[in-house]
């Protein structure tokens, strides 16, 4: 996916990423305890607060909830995607700045046979690993609430949630390797993550936004992820739309990955 030409004596992308597994595993062993709160309890609280308690006041015709039988069933597929978004952005902002500016781990890695594309790749693969565990736990916690219409729907929705996370992880990493100061991250969170979470169909149908805003929302990768995740969970799949959703997410991820690797190379190779 990233710049693919391998210089003489260089490593393939897989080899380069493989050599960093011990590093990222050590990082994970050091940080997983903090992550467990957010990956297990916060979805539970979200579902209780938004879905069960708030949702108890909401009685809507399923036709207006994109086919969901309850408000809880409506928001669950979007909540997981929103969770993936938050995690992906969190893991590709401050940790990336840390690698460049504070701990300088990227610089240390660049002095070895590893190249920028390997370093960026391993960081993104670690984000994927975090997404697998976080979204996996989220989906398992939700299963007993009877929000999934079929057994195969959530199984297919899971990789969609991961892919949506990766789309944002890679693009945000592309930004993080280019900005000079962590102040930019406040902007990403306030003007990126927040509106995407709130207005991309995770908590209410985008049709409620009015025609202009609705189409704006539909243009974001977030909506494509939420929509595909929801169609699969609620068994309301429009396969041609699903293909569009998938194509958008795959293209954004592929572009972001390449862009992040290239940006890191420009930053490290002076």
């Amino acid at each position: 996916m990233a710049a693919s030409s391998t210089p003489a004596g260089g490593l393939t992308l897989a080899q380069g990423i493989g050599r960093q597994t011990d590093y990222w595993w050590t990082v994970f062993k050091r940080t997983w305890r903090g992550g467990i709160i957010s990956s297990f309890f916060s979805p539970l609280f979200y579902v209780l607060a938004m879905g069960v308690l708030l949702g108890g006041f909401i009685e809507v015709d399923p036709a207006r909830l994109e086919g969901a039988t309850s408000y809880l069933a409506f928001i669950v597929p979007g909540l997981v995607v929103a969770h993936a978004l938050g995690l992906a952005v969190g893991e590709t902002t401050y940790p990336v700045m840390g690698g460049l500016k504070w701990h300088k781990t990227y610089w240390a890695q660049a002095a070895t046979p590893l190249e920028a594309r390997h370093i960026a790749g391993a960081h993104l693969m670690f984000v994927l690993f975090r997404l697998v565990t976080a979204c996996g736990v989220f989906m398992l916690v939700l299963a007993p609430f009877g929000v999934f219409e079929t057994w195969w729907g959530p199984i297919l929705a899971f990789p969609v949630q991961l892919l949506t996370g990766m789309a944002f992880a890679s693009v945000v990493m592309g930004i993080s390797v280019r900005v000079k100061s962590e102040e930019a991250f406040g902007v990403i969170f306030r003007l990126g993550v927040m509106p995407l979470t709130l207005f991309s169909g995770a908590f209410f149908p985008v049709s409620n936004l009015g025609p202009v805003m609705e189409w704006l929302a539909r243009a974001t990768p977030m909506w494509h992820g939420v929509n595909l995740s929801r169609m699969l969970c609620l068994d309301t799949v429009d396969w041609s739309l699903a293909l569009v959703n998938l194509a958008v997410l795959v293209s954004v991820t592929a572009f972001g990955w390449w862009w992040a690797a290239r940006g890191l190379e420009r930053r490290l190779v002076l």
């Binding site: 210089p7 003489a8 004596g9 260089g10 490593l11 080899q15 050599r19 960093q20 597994t21 011990d22 590093y23 050590t26 050091r30 701990h103 300088k104 781990t105 610089w107 240390a108 890695q109 660049a110 002095a111 070895t112 046979p113 590893l114 190249e115 490290l268 190779v269 002076l270």
Partner: protein, 307 residues
């Protein structure tokens, strides 16, 4: 090991290295001596194959860094000017993880890590977090890390900058032992004592160019006298008092007039001091010493190394 011809490096309009020729042979300790901003670190980063050259030729271990960077880096040890240790990991993990970047099998890395911790005297700190180490210990850990792949060529960028004298001596001792073991060392420094202690051969760099090249002794013989008499005349009010004094003793040897003292270069320093007194001058302090690389640098560039 290293062959550079007309090597250049520019950043935009700024030219950090302006065409230098360097040969480093196997087993020697080679130094780049010069003040901050002389182009030493830029040269070092090009040699480390992490910075593309802007002009000229460069060959490292017989390979071209532009096309064989990863292969070169796999055989280099790099001790950067700023520590790039992972502060949140413990000492042992820092070495282990670094070894894994080179694709060394786990078992072998573990053995090497133990040996290296022993070598840099950090065995009892193996489980400490890097954050809690002193500056000297961190530097030793960085050196241990740079040795994890058993490099053919070890690059040390300002290895003892910021360390206290005792820590510097510990480090020098370790570098000296590496040199004895046959590791080729390339060192940048702005400390002339470091260059004299460690380097078989060095180049004096200034403003991106090489001002002189040779062994420390050759350089001193070529560019300075055997001895130097340092004369201090206390606090001088308005600038030109030193110049007036200099006029009176100009025939005693080559002079360097510094803000706080006058240096007189002569084969016999005591003789110079006797003559100075004969002429009725009363320096408040005098010192006769051997010439050092500092004097060489002063003569070549008109400036001191550390200012």
């Amino acid at each position: 090991m290293i062959l550079a011809r007309g090597l250049r490096k520019s950043f935009g309009d700024f030219e950090a290295v302006k065409g230098i020729d360097v040969d480093v042979r196997r087993g020697e300790a080679f130094g780049f001596l010069g003040p901050n901003g002389a182009g030493k670190s830029s040269t070092m980063r090009m040699i480390a194959s992490v910075s593309p050259i802007s002009g000229g030729e460069l060959s490292i271990l017989g390979m071209d860094p532009a096309t064989q960077g990863p292969a070169i880096r796999s055989r280099l040890g790099v001790c950067p000017q700023e520590d790039t240790l992972d502060n949140e990991l413990n000492v042992r993990d820092n070495l282990f993880i670094y070894g894994r970047y080179f694709g060394i099998p786990k078992g072998e890395v573990n053995t090497r890590v133990d040996e290296l911790l022993e070598f840099v005297q950090l065995t009892d700190k193996a489980r400490s977090r890097v954050e809690d180490l002193s500056g000297g210990m961190k530097r030793r850990l960085t050196i241990a890390r740079s040795l994890v792949n058993k490099p053919d060529l070890l690059l040390l960028d300002e290895p003892t900058t910021g360390l206290d004298p005792q820590a510097r001596h510990v480090l020098w001792d370790q570098l000296f032992r590496l040199k004895q073991a046959g590791v080729t060392l390339v060192i940048t420094t702005h400390y002339m004592d470091e260059a004299e202690q460690l380097c078989d051969r060095l180049v004096v760099m200034d403003k991106g160019l090489i001002a002189a090249e040779g062994s420390p002794r050759q350089l001193i013989e070529e560019h300075s006298t055997r001895e130097v008499a340092e004369l201090r005349f206390g606090i001088v009010d308005e600038g030109n008092v030193h110049e007036q004094i200099a006029e009176k003793i100009g025939d005693l040897g080559r002079l360097e007039v510094l803000p706080d003292r006058i240096l007189v270069y002569s084969p016999d320093g005591e003789e110079v001091i006797a003559r100075v007194h004969e002429r009725g001058l009363e320096p408040i302090a005098v010192l006769v010493r051997r010439s050092t690389l500092e004097d060489v640098f002063l003569k070549l560039t008109g400036r001191t190394l550390v200012d």
